[in-house]
């Protein structure tokens, strides 16, 4: 028996609603986040991630309420990301019922924040989101911000190593090139990041065919995050797990009860 590969469903949340879209300009309302979280939970998803894309303070307050209501009825790990800039922001989310937070921009702007959060709450609460794209940095992978629209010039491998040393408990590797394409995870990027860290690695961006999930595991991912393939009903959570189970990857299959 061994540790299962985790299947994580990600929900983009704004002003208390889930939105879905191929890019940030074509968003359509996809429902109530609490209901969707409960549905994915009942289908056997291993973890949930809310990405708060609210642009306003009121929107963020609404997200806290969504987190509260979700934590009260869905008893699997919940990660919340988007707009987290301080130890206080983390504290608020944990108290609302989040188990982990993910951050990108704030950690890039002030890396010590990683250590401050890890010291106060433990490394396990901190998921470092590495939004990377292929570019001419040393490793060929560059860290971006603002949903991949802005480059930082920072090398993704060097940044991952530094963030893990500072106390990041998990790496969410999001390929900005593959994101939304459903053409497969960026296998080269996963392999490269895996080679520099022993911290759990979540692959994100590009999930399409069932084979894509297996390929990311082969490249070294410990967990697989997907959004659109689940939201648009291309695969159910159970389809992915059954496929992986059939191909001898360790997954958590729900017992009938």
């Amino acid at each position: 028996m061994t540790l299962s590969v985790r299947i994580i469903a990600c929900l983009d949340v704004t002003d208390g609603r889930v939105v879905k879209g191929v890019n940030f300009t074509n968003l359509v309302d996809a429902g109530d986040p609490v209901e969707m979280a409960a549905l994915y939970g009942s289908e056997g998803v291993d973890e949930l991630t809310f990405l708060d894309i609210s642009a306003s303070i009121i929107g963020r307050e609404t997200t806290l309420d969504v987190v509260r209501r979700t934590a009260e009825q869905v008893f699997i790990p919940l990660t919340v990301g988007g707009g987290i800039r301080s130890v206080e922001d983390v504290d608020r989310l944990l108290r609302a019922g989040a188990d982990k937070v993910s951050m990108n921009t704030a950690a890039i702007e002030r890396p010590e924040l990683i250590a401050e959060i890890a010291d106060k709450f433990g490394s396990q609460v901190l998921v470092l989101s590495v939004d990377a794209r292929r570019a001419r940095t040393e490793s060929g992978f560059e860290v971006t911000t603002h949903g991949g629209r802005e480059g930082t010039g920072i090398d993704a491998l060097a940044w991952t190593e530094k963030a893990c040393a500072l106390g990041a408990g998990e790496i969410l590797l999001n390929s900005m090139d593959a994101d939304g394409t459903r053409a497969g995870y960026d296998i080269g990027m996963i392999t490269a990041i895996r080679s520099v860290t022993k911290t759990p690695l979540i692959a994100s961006g590009g999930a399409g065919a069932l084979e894509d999930f297996a390929a990311a595991i082969d490249a070294g991912a410990d967990a697989l995050l997907a959004a659109s393939v689940f939201h648009f009903g291309i695969h159910r959570i159970g389809d992915v797990k059954s496929y992986l189970n059939t191909h001898n990857y360790p997954v958590r299959m729900q017992a009938a009860r």
Binding site: L3, R95, E170, T199, P200, R252
Partner: protein, 200 residues
């Protein structure tokens, strides 16, 4: 009534609601009398071993736990709340180890595993004497930790492997503990919680 001991920041909301699914009243409290007199006391874990002990000491936690056991009142430690029931922990200790509450003699030390923390769903193998895992033989539970106890203590142990074999749960009379998070382990976790609340 179940009391969940509040001795620091962190997510206690899910624990509160998860234990409430058992049908019992649940309070999150740092009040000594409430914690001493509740039918069951849940000791969650917050942060690293030493930080957890520090928080626990600030609310008189070690005395509450010892007193409850003497008075035959059940205690359930979760995650770091399990680890601190041992006598020693080596986390973030440059020389030797930090002292725990010491209900069980033993050390909590770093897992030797290729990927740490041990994060995610893993299976549990229990002794035949287990009460808490009855009906849950083939289930997985959610773990998040890098340190663990590796030697048997108590009356019934459950074991899990990540890199090496470690104690994933202990059942020892009035005191039980899990290295995993039952409150985050979906239906299997809720069934485990129900087994515990029925046993107390």
């Amino acid at each position: 009534m179940i009391a969940i001991l509040d001795y620091g920041s962190g997510n206690l909301r899910s624990a509160e609601r998860a234990f409430a699914t058992s049908g019992l009243d649940v309070v999150v409290t740092s009040d000594r009398e409430v914690a001493l007199n509740a039918k069951g006391l849940v000791v969650p874990g917050v942060g690293a071993f030493a930080a957890c002990m520090q928080g626990l000491n600030a609310v008189g936690g070690p005395e509450i736990i010892r007193e409850r056991i003497v008075n035959e009142r059940p205690v359930l430690g979760i995650c770091i709340g399990m680890q601190i029931l041992f006598s020693r922990g080596t986390e973030h200790s440059k020389n030797g180890s930090h002292a725990g509450v010491g209900i069980w003699d033993g050390e909590v030390s770093l897992l030797e595993a290729p990927i740490l923390p041990h994060m995610g769903w893993n299976s549990v193998e229990s002794d035949a004497q287990t009460v808490l895992f009855q009906g849950l033989e083939n289930e997985s539970f959610y773990f998040v930790h890098s340190y663990a106890a590796k030697k048997a203590v108590g009356k019934a142990q459950s074991w899990t492997t990540h890199g090496e074999k470690f104690v994933s749960a202990v059942e020892d009379g009035y005191v039980s503990a899990t290295q995993f998070h039952p409150e985050k382990s979906g239906d299997a976790g809720l069934a485990f919680i129900k087994n515990w609340t029925k046993s107390i």
